[in-house]
Symmetry: C2
Subunit: 320 residues, 2 copies
């Protein structure tokens, strides 16, 4: 697939940090940036921006805060070929933590919000744009909403100045037909917006759903190195670059990065296709129950886990 408008966003550190509280070595983050730049990746999303008081810095690594000075130090003397982005959650970042874009290393700040928070999301994205950044709204967990509520927020978004809206398969529960349904809906309600796609790999569909979104017209594509990301992880960057025919992309630097850094990392922290994540994907649920299982002695007791999530009388206990 070749379409000049297509842009790739690497979110290895941002989404991968959900596994290890962003406790990555500087070297790994720097090498990830360098590989992305060499691969022609358009944006590297380096973490979440959050205010200092929001999280304990002893527990959370610096990519949970994404202070400009940390990134400048990290990427000192490296040619910034890929644009740098970060993500913000509603209510976790103060105005003063977002510098004017002209003083910042960030080009893009993406706002993650649920359907019910889209009003707040639009307001935050507007502030971000007013400071000179590119902005997106990533509507999380869209698969758990009634269609009337989705339509309502798409109408609101259409009226906003936010230029990019993401279809996000937070739970890895969607099939290609669901992706097509949502992309077509987003296009219908917001004919002038650029659409993005962010998929999770619970059912081994993150890459194919990303392809489907490209076929349907999405132009901002999220992926991560070796699929790193919470739970089952994301669309593999190496697979996506092997699919896109745009000559600016090169897959080899990503293979090298996996070989040197992500294979050893995968020995220390876990992500990828595992049965408990497939189960929460099938059930269209947040992976938190599966993550808790994988963190326990019962991590491979798949049938007990499946029974807990599917037997009505135990559902409340196990889900909350």
């Amino acid at each position: 697939m070749y379409r000049p408008e297509i842009k790739v966003v690497d979110c290895s550190i941002r989404d991968g940090g959900l596994i290890n509280k962003w406790q990555f070595s500087d070297e790994l983050v720097r090498e990830t940036y360098k590989a992305c730049a060499a691969a022609g990746v358009d944006y590297m999303e380096i973490g979440y921006k959050a205010s200092a008081g929001m999280f304990d810095p002893k527990e959370y690594g610096k990519w949970r805060f994404c202070r400009d000075e940390d990134i400048k130090r990290l990427l000192d003397k490296i040619e910034l070929k890929s644009k740098i982005s970060c993500m913000v959650d509603i209510g976790r970042v103060n105005d003063e933590d977002i510098l004017p874009a002209k003083n910042s290393v960030f080009s893009m700040i993406r706002v993650a919000c649920y359907v019910k928070e889209v009003d707040k999301g639009i307001a935050l994205a507007q502030k971000i744009m007013d400071k000179g950044y590119e902005a997106t709204i990533n509507i999380m967990a869209v698969s758990t909403n009634l269609e009337k509520d989705i339509n309502e927020v798409l109408e609101q978004l259409d009226k906003s100045q936010v230029p990019v809206v993401y279809v996000v398969d937070s739970y890895g529960s969607m099939f290609q037909e669901d992706i097509t349904f949502l992309i077509k809906k987003y296009q219908k309600f917001m004919p002038n917006k650029t659409l993005g796609i962010h998929c999770h790999n619970n059912r081994q569909l993150a890459f194919s759903n990303t392809i489907q979104a490209v076929i349907d017209g999405a132009n901002l594509l999220d992926a991560s190195v070796f699929g790193i990301g919470r739970g089952a992880g994301n669309c593999c960057l190496e697979l996506l670059l092997g699919f896109l025919k745009n000559p600016k992309y090169h897959v080899r630097p990503v293979f090298k990065l996996i070989e040197d850094y992500y294979l050893p990392l995968r020995e220390k922290i876990e992500w990828g296709y595992l049965i408990p994540y497939a189960i929460t994907g099938m059930l269209n649920e947040h992976p938190r129950s599966a993550m808790a299982l994988r963190d326990s002695a019962d991590k491979d007791k798949y049938t007990d886990f499946y029974d807990q999530l599917t037997t009505p009388e135990t559902t409340v206990k196990s889900r909350h």
Copy 2:
């Protein structure tokens, strides 16, 4: 997706045996059969049928030969709820090894052949049908042929009495658009045949390509437990059963089987998404070079491997 004509073929032992020369314990094979039967799987393909002299029985396990008496012994006293099938290769099975169907445990025998062997495949399938079995032709490595040659064999197959023809993505190189292209082509040339789909998972697309084939009209669906199969493996049976809405299918017995048998097996033999298999998939090549790499001390030297396969002057050496 629900369509009453859909049937699922488990090929865990047959395709998985390509990893370990069919050296599975009787217990694992028996428990796989029992789980398939409990899950409502329509066919279990238990191995390849080959004549005794073709392979050394000290090196190859009994599912490389699939003698009726071995299977009768294995499944003694088990209710045969799933039909039993096996696969045959051209030139590796003698007439006398195929009993009349009425004396056999097999319901279906599938013929695997390349485009250039389809004449021989049709002749063998006809013999199999004459003995009273269901038969299919699985055209391997179709992605490496010129379209005129594919069209020619589809015309031949249309004239044959073989009722089922498979689209096979042997190298895990196809995207959903390729699946649609081939299914539509097979339908156009053979409007009265049932179509099957068999995918490999080199690019994490085996499940989504199987879904795409279902959407396009394929009704015989191959899958394997936890994706076991040569190289990157196949479409995961547990994912496929979680997708199909036919009430006869139950995914829980497959989770139990993975927990008890396939997770320990995966500790001993390797299959699944690994970069060398992704690379051969991207290059539309047989995985043998990747399998050789994984069997060597250089198993994680991805960039060297990629360079070997993509640098013209080393290509001949490394590919053969």
